[in-house]
Subunit: 200 residues, 2 copies
């Protein structure tokens, strides 16, 4: 299988990429340090990416940013950072990519526990995650040529525990193999429109 | 209680306004035909609105649009119609309004069943509804001075049955009094961060 992974350098991306590379041909993409350069906040860059490497069997996106801050500090423009990147970036990846991927190909997007169980400073981050959940359920109804779409929604992952645990009081860290398996399930399974929630 | 209702002329807004007017002082706002003119897609207009009529006890928003079309027809700009209006419009209403409302005041936003149970042509509409659900849960954690925020998420409402039933095959229409009660619960109750789902 030919799999495009956007965000392969990230905490989760590294583990997912290592696992998928055991059996598949991987192309990585990202803002830097990847096989292909792309900023998902830029729809033109997404189109250029698929023009260069069409006909993938699967696209995995573990990228996209959103601004974290107290609600009282967030400006409208701060909200739009996440809107353009993690939200519309992932939407555009599907909207544009579906016309380039093979029949029966799959999209696997990424969100996180904030959509269901937010913490302080995440009004923007939670919002974009919730948006992607509902988008995936709706888009699944209209995928054509056997193409599928799912989203992996993991809790605080083990490899980010040290960095983020103070922001997620009482959240049980999710073992990395469980997170990786969620991506494998989305790519290799037949599910469509599933929010694959990964908890400890 | 002084209650500001944005979208009082709509199908749901009319019934909610009639009920609340029995016991409260209502100011209506909207793009036309209301006491106060406001387009929630414009943050400056929202700020101007609260400058004119600060110190409300409750704000109810039953307004905001999003573009309906098949996923394959929707452009990036089409998605941004809903992003600017129903999504960021409601976010900005809270973000700006919280500094003008009275202590213990409440915000009641509106979404719909599409967030959880989308139908064809709603990739954009579902997305903005899902975004608002997660936003409300996150914002509730940071409301100050006793202020609260909830969202009413109703299924296909009885009064829209004729107009929309072909888009919502098999959806049971929700009786209007149940929908109205959800708004009353949000405003008069003590709940905060609740997605008040109203089904038949």
């Amino acid at each position: 299988m030919n799999i495009l992974i956007i965000g392969a350098n990230g905490t989760i991306g590294q583990k997912v990429t290592a696992k998928l590379a055991e059996k598949h041909t991987i192309i990585t993409a990202g803002r830097n340090g990847a096989d292909e350069t792309v900023d998902i906040a830029d729809a033109t860059a997404i189109k250029d990416l698929f023009e260069r490497i069409p006909a993938q069997d699967a696209v995995v996106c573990i990228a996209g940013e959103a601004k974290w801050d107290y609600f009282k500090n967030l400006t409208e423009e701060d909200f739009y950072v996440g809107v353009r990147s993690k939200m519309m970036g992932q939407v555009n990846l599907v909207r544009i990519g579906k016309d380039y991927l093979k029949p029966n190909a799959s999209f696997t997007l990424s969100t996180g526990v904030l959509a269901d169980d937010p913490v302080v400073m995440t009004t923007s981050a939670a919002m974009v995650n919730g948006a992607i959940h509902s988008f995936v359920k709706a888009a699944a109804l209209e995928m054509e040529n056997g193409q599928r779409i799912n989203v992996v929604c993991s809790g605080l992952v083990e490899d980010s525990k040290e960095k983020y645990e103070d922001y997620f009081p009482g959240h049980d860290p999710v073992p990395m193999p469980k997170v990786v398996n969620a991506y494998v399930k989305s790519i290799m399974g037949k599910n469509n429109g599933e929010i694959i929630r990964v908890n400890a």
